[in-house]
Structure formats: C-alpha cells, structure tokens
C-alpha cells in the first residue's frame, strides 16, 4: 500500500502542496496507525501530516477526492443486443481472463486489472498531454486487449446469427473498456501533470525579455515577484539579525557589573548598529524602458520593510520626484498617474539625459549621501544631444555607489545615440536589466551586506 501513498504524494506535489520526505514518512506512519478502513479518517490523517496551511489543506482534500475516486467502470456497457439469446459457449472456446471479466461485468476485477497494468506502465511518470493515447494503448495491451481483438476477428469469420450477436456484444464491451481506460488515463494525467505546464511557463517567464512580455501574463508576473520578494525578505531579515553577535563589549561589561562589586557576572555583547540600505532610483520612463521600470519598482516597493528609505525620480525630458505617489498608491496605479502626467510637471517629450541629471543636481542632490546607493535605469539614448557627464559625476562623487541598469543587451551599448560610453567613468557598475531574473539578482545584491 505504500506505493499508493507514494503516488498520492506525487499527485499532491503536482497540485502545488509542498511535501518533504520527512512528511511523507510521517504520513506513512500516521496511515499505519489509523488504517485504510475509514475514508474520512484517512483523509484527515493525510491532511494533518502532509498539508501545513489552510490553503494547502483544501488543495490536498481536492486531490484526495480525485485520487481515490472510484467512478471507473461505473455505467454498465451499452448492451445493444441484450435481448439476443445468450450465445452457446461452444462459439468461444478460449475465453481470456479479460473477456471473462468483461462478460461477467466484474467491476472490481476490471479496476484491479487496469490499475495494475497502469502501475506496471508507470502512469505516475506521465508529463505531457500528447502521451495520453500512448499510455492508454499500453495499458490496454497489458490488460490483454490484443486477445479480445483476435476473438472479435475470429467471430467475424463464422457466419451464423449467434456469432454475429456475440461479436456485437464483444465489440460493445471493447468500446466500453477503451472508454474507461481513456478516462482513467485522463484523470491520472490531471493528477500528475496538470500543473506541469504552469510550472514550465513560470520558469520561462523569469527569463523572457520584459519588453516582449504580453499583457496577459502580467498577473502571473506579479505573483512571481511577490514570491521572490517574500523569499528575499525572509532570507535577509534573518541574516541581518544574526550578523555580528558575540563579541564581548568589555567596557560595557565593566560598567554594568559595578553593582555586583565589580565581579563580572553578566557580560554584555557588542552589537553592530544595522544600517538598512538607502536607495535613490532615477528612472527613464520613455516608452522603450517603461516596462522594465514598472517591474523594478514593483520589486523595490515590495521590499520596503527591508529598505529604510527609497526615493524615486522619473525623467523623460525633465526630472521630477514621484516618491509620494509611489508611496501612497499601488505601483500600477501610480505609474498610470505618472504617465498620464495629470498632477506632476513631467514633460514627456524627447528623452534628455543632460537636462534631467542637471535637474537632479540642482534640486535633489541633498538626497544623496555617503550611505546611498543610486540606481539609474535607462538606455542612455540622448537623441544626439550633448551628454554632459559632469552632472552624473556630481551624483557619483556623493554616493556610496552608483549602479547603472541598462535594459538593452550589451551588444547595443554605445551604438547609435547611446551615450553610455561617456557616462562610463561615473558609475560603479553597469548591469544588463531586462528580465525578472536580472532584477532579482540585482535586488538580492542590494540588500545583502
């Protein structure tokens, strides 16, 4: 029976419940204690030992219902020739076990034969929907459908009414069998592989160019981002707390133990004051870069508990601060408002890096301190204007580091009106940034110490 549990665990994993090996072992032990007799009890025992959130419990219960569903071979075969006289046994001399099962309508026997055949064919390995017919064929072959065909053909050669009736009976039984095996394979495919496609899509989405992304995948991307953000939060909040603990602070120990007549009873330990990264983001929001900006901001604003202070500036022809808008409304809404430009003095003309960096230098340079990381997101395509790199230089010299994110692939950097070469001395590093994967790597480098 452990094989059944194993398959059930596989099915549950496919459905999206995270199950570790130790939990599987627990489930095996739990099932040994409660037994297989009581269906509700079995379900509860599995739910208690395998699913660890309320959401997972619902998935698991649904999966249980589908996995342990015995609706197969439920409807009796369509007997068109029921009133035909029972054929004399002499017509069919050698009945195979399959034929006997079919003729006697032994449901349990048929299910047993089918699941056994499916097990031998490793049905739990099914991955793609194109494999369905193949599995169905193999299962049928294992059950002995070949013999059934042979018998039907043999009956076709005998030219009596009784033989014809018998042949019709066998044919309808065969159709019934094929139908049920197909249904069974379909249900197994649903159990073991249905979410496989989703998972594939997800790993593709991480690597696809954000600028090529279709609108309909946005919701999925948001989900992925949320999960990534959560992972990063978990990872780094823990690491940060544990950092730098355990060095004896001797001066403080002496001071605090004066009350014990100078005996050193309660040692105190040094703790490093933890500085969260401060970030200033300067984004080009001309059309060519907008998509990337959107996802970068989604990421950054998801992380806000990690990052103490984040200020965002957007520019096209000129530069404006939009921290307030982004801080007060969801990123999507905020971006729509910024683009619409209803309540902010942003000119959406030709991209002008010279003027924008100049604006920043004039109005907002105080936002950059020695602790600040500046992210500049843009393709540096300045429409053949003078790049004036000294504005960027002023920012670079004040900040801790300046990271340039370029949504173009490296081959295009510096080609045409791209002025990235002129800005080169004034950034700490440059990164290609056009997929979710890039954004994730960048952010995890930002929050790491």
């Amino acid at each position: 029976m452990e094989r059944v549990l194993e398959d059930f665990v596989t099915a549950a994993r496919t459905a999206g419940v995270r199950i570790s090996i130790s939990e599987t072992l627990d489930a095996v032990r739990a099932v040994k204690v409660v037994g297989y007799r009581d269906r509700a009890l079995l379900k509860d025992a599995l739910a208690v030992s395998l699913a660890k959130t309320a959401g997972e419990k619902t998935i698991l219960e649904d999966c249980f219902e589908r996995f342990f569903a015995f609706r197969l071979f439920a409807a009796a075969p369509d007997r068109a020739c029921k009133d035909a006289a029972m054929p004399s046994p002499s017509l069919v001399q050698t009945k195979s076990s399959l034929v006997r099962l079919l003729m006697e309508e032994d449901r349990a026997g048929l299910i047993g034969a089918m699941t056994e055949a499916a097990r031998l064919e490793n049905i739990s390995q099914i991955k793609y929907f194109t494999q369905r017919s193949l599995f169905a064929l193999r299962i049928l072959a294992r059950m002995g459908a070949g013999g059934l065909d042979g018998q039907i053909q043999a009956l076709g050669r005998i030219d009596t009414p009784a033989a014809a009736a018998e042949k019709a009976r066998l044919e309808s039984a065969k159709a019934y069998l094929v139908d049920n095996v197909r249904n069974y394979v379909q249900s197994q495919y649903d159990l073991f592989a249905r979410n496989e496609g989703e998972r594939r899509l997800e790993s593709e989405l991480r690597l696809v160019k954000l600028s090529n992304l279709e609108q309909r995948y946005f919701a999925r991307i948001h989900n992925i981002i949320q999960r990534m953000v959560k992972r990063l939060n978990d990872l780094h909040s823990r690491r940060r707390k544990a950092a730098r603990r355990g060095v004896l602070d001797f001066k403080r120990t002496l001071r605090e133990n004066i009350s014990y007549q100078g005996m050193l009873f309660a040692p105190s330990w040094k703790r490093k004051k933890i500085e969260r990264p401060q970030i200033v983001v300067i984004c080009d929001i001309s059309r060519s870069v907008l998509r990337t900006v959107r996802f970068l901001l989604l990421f950054l604003y998801g992380l806000n508990q990690e990052i103490a202070k984040i200020r965002t500036f957007v520019f096209c022809t000129n530069l404006v601060e939009v921290s307030d808008i982004l801080g007060n409304s969801p990123v999507d809404e905020a971006l729509a408002r910024i683009q619409g430009g209803t309540d902010i003095p942003l000119i959406m003309g030709r991209t002008d890096y010279e003027r924008s960096f100049g604006d920043f230098r004039r109005d907002h340079l105080a936002a950059v301190t020695r602790k600040t990381t500046v992210l500049v997101l843009g393709d540096a395509r300045n429409n053949y204007n003078d790049p004036h790199p000294e504005n960027l230089r002023a920012i670079y010299e004040r900040c801790k580091r300046l990271i340039w994110l370029n949504p173009e692939v490296p081959a295009f950097w510096g080609s045409g009106d791209s002025e990235i070469g002129h800005y080169k001395p004034y950034y700490t590093m440059i990164k290609e940034c056009n997929t979710l994967e890039h954004i994730e790597r960048l952010i995890s480098a930002l929050v790491r110490r």
Binding site: A30, V34, L41, D44, A47, V48, S49, T53, R238
Partner: protein, 312 residues
C-alpha cells in the same frame, strides 16, 4: 514501554470521550490529531481564528491525562534565558561570598600562582551545576518524570531565532546547556504549539509538526459546546444563540465572533434571565461578542432581520 498517553488514549473514540468528560467538545479530526500525536510522538501545530479553542485543546488534553500543563507564552524578544534556563546569579554570588574564607583557604594552601589556579579549577564547576540552574518552562517540561503537556502559545509572536531554537526540542526532545551538557527528556512531553497566523512560520518548524486547523464549528457542534459550557441554558435559547452567531459570521466584519464569544454571550443571557432573543436585548448585549465600533454598526443595522431568522 508505553507512555501514559498511549495507555489512556487507546482509540480515537476514547480521545473524543475523554475530552468530552472535561467539557471540551472536539470534532473527529481534532481527536484524531491528538491520538496521532501520542502515537507518533510528534508536536501538534494548531492554527485557526482567535477564540476557537486552540489553547483550550491543550488544557483539556492535560486535564484528561491528569498531567501537568506547562505553558510557555511567546512574545517578541523571548529568548533562551526565559524559555529554557537561567543561572541563579544571586545564589551564585551569595555562595561565593559565604565560601570566601573557604576559598582563600584552598588557594593559600598551594604555593605559587599555578597550583592555586589548578586548585581553583577543580572547584569552579560547582557554581555551574544543577543547584544553581533555574529551569524555565522548556527544561521543566523535559524533566517531568511522568511526562506533561507542553503548550507553546502563540508561537507566531516570537522571533525567527526562537523558532529555530525550538527545532532541537521539537524533533529530538533534547536541549543543550553548554555548561552541563545535553539534557534528554525523561518522558517525552506532548507538545502543542498554537499560532494565530500573524506571520508565516518557517518550513522547518512546520515539517516537524502535525498541522491541525480548527475552523469555526458547525452549528450542531457549537450548540453542543454551548450546552456543555453553559449547562443552565435552555434548549431553544441555545438554538437561537447559535443560529444568530452563525449568521453574524457570514457578514463582512473586521473580527467575527468566535466560540469563546458565543459562550460569553450565552452566559450573559443567562445572567439576564433571558428566555428568548428579541431585538432590544440583542442590541443591548451586542458589545459582548462584537469588538469593533464599525462592526457594531453593521450588525445593529440588521439586528431585526437576524433575530427574526434566528428565532425561527
């Protein structure tokens, strides 16, 4: 050797009955989880909305096993010294003062700094031994001879570090005290952890536990609980109270009333000698089971309708 829990809880039905005897009405799933936890020697992580009886379950289990209940209330900043053990600094200090002469004696007998040091080394461990150790709930639970029920309440309120620290106890039922060594459980305690889901618990912790989710009870079960907890209540009033609360739970509220609130309300109605629900009475006692001003407004609007539905 069979543990006390296994001896008493021979089947799921006995668990159900035993819990019922101490006035805790459980459903089958809860009983089965307790039964499994005894058999598999695994901790139970109990989740569910506030006030459905997560903590009560541990208390009731302890009561029917007649074992001590050791409770550790978690909060932010809880650390090992409060949960596991602490050295009795005062006692150590006092003893060193009292034994000062003795120590002078020991040290002065030797000639030379090194011998004195060596001598001292032979004795210093006595100040870090069991008599100077103040066991806190976790260590106490491991030392109970006949086993006990250990309740780690609201684990989600504690820090991540504390959660990680619990892992050793939950999987091996042992803890390490650096000065003494590893302490093994005499009899493995039956552990309940409760969580209100204010934050996601770590995978590692969840993996080590059986997970029980207690939802709001169905009407029938809730009626039984009310009858058991408020024995004086009349059959039809209990019926009405439960119907009313069940309907209120369907409304869009900030905080829906849970079982403990239903019980409180039933008690209040008993004190007021109410025979049946009527809108005026409900409106006066609304604040017993609705805890937010906004929610009071929402329910008060519909009191007539809800009472009419509950009474019929």
């Amino acid at each position: 050797m069979k543990s006390r829990y296994e001896e008493q809880f021979i089947s799921i039905e006995t668990v159900l009955e035993n819990l019922r005897d101490v006035a805790y009405i459980a459903n089958r799933q809860m009983a089965m989880t307790v039964y499994l936890a005894c058999r598999l020697e695994k901790p139970i992580l109990v989740e569910g909305p506030a006030g459905v009886g997560k903590t009560e379950l541990a208390k009731a289990t302890a009561a029917c096993l007649q074992l001590p209940l050791i409770r550790l209330q978690c909060y932010e900043g809880l650390d090992e010294s409060k949960a596991l053990y602490e050295w009795k600094y005062g006692k150590q200090l006092l003893y060193t003062q009292l034994l000062k002469d003795k120590m002078d004696d020991i040290i002065s007998r030797g000639n030379g700094f090194k011998t004195a040091m060596d001598k001292l080394h032979q004795y210093d461990d006595i100040f870090f031994s069991w008599p100077f150790l103040e066991p806190r709930p976790l260590l106490k639970a491991l030392q109970e001879k006949n086993g006990c029920v250990l309740l780690i309440d609201e684990i989600d309120k504690s820090d991540d570090e504390f959660e990680a620290f619990l892992l050793e106890i939950l999987s091996d039922f042992q803890v390490s005290v650096p000065e003494i060594g590893t302490v093994q459980a005499v009899t493995k305690p039956l552990v309940f952890l409760t969580s209100n889901n204010t934050r996601e618990l770590s995978e590692a912790l969840k993996r080590r536990c059986l997970h029980l989710y207690i939802p709001f009870p169905e009407a029938a079960l809730e009626r039984e609980i009310i009858r058991r907890r408020v024995p004086d209540i009349s059959e039809h009033l209990a019926h009405q109270v439960v119907n009313f609360i069940q309907d209120v739970r369907k409304l869009d509220l900030k905080k829906v009333p849970s079982i403990s609130e239903t019980i409180d309300w039933a008690r209040v109605l008993m004190i007021l000698h109410a025979e049946t629900l009527d809108p005026a009475l409900v409106r006066d006692t609304l604040n017993i089971f609705i805890k937010f001003e906004d929610d009071v407004g929402v329910v008060a609007e519909k009191v007539h309708q809800l009472t009419a539905m509950a009474v019929n």
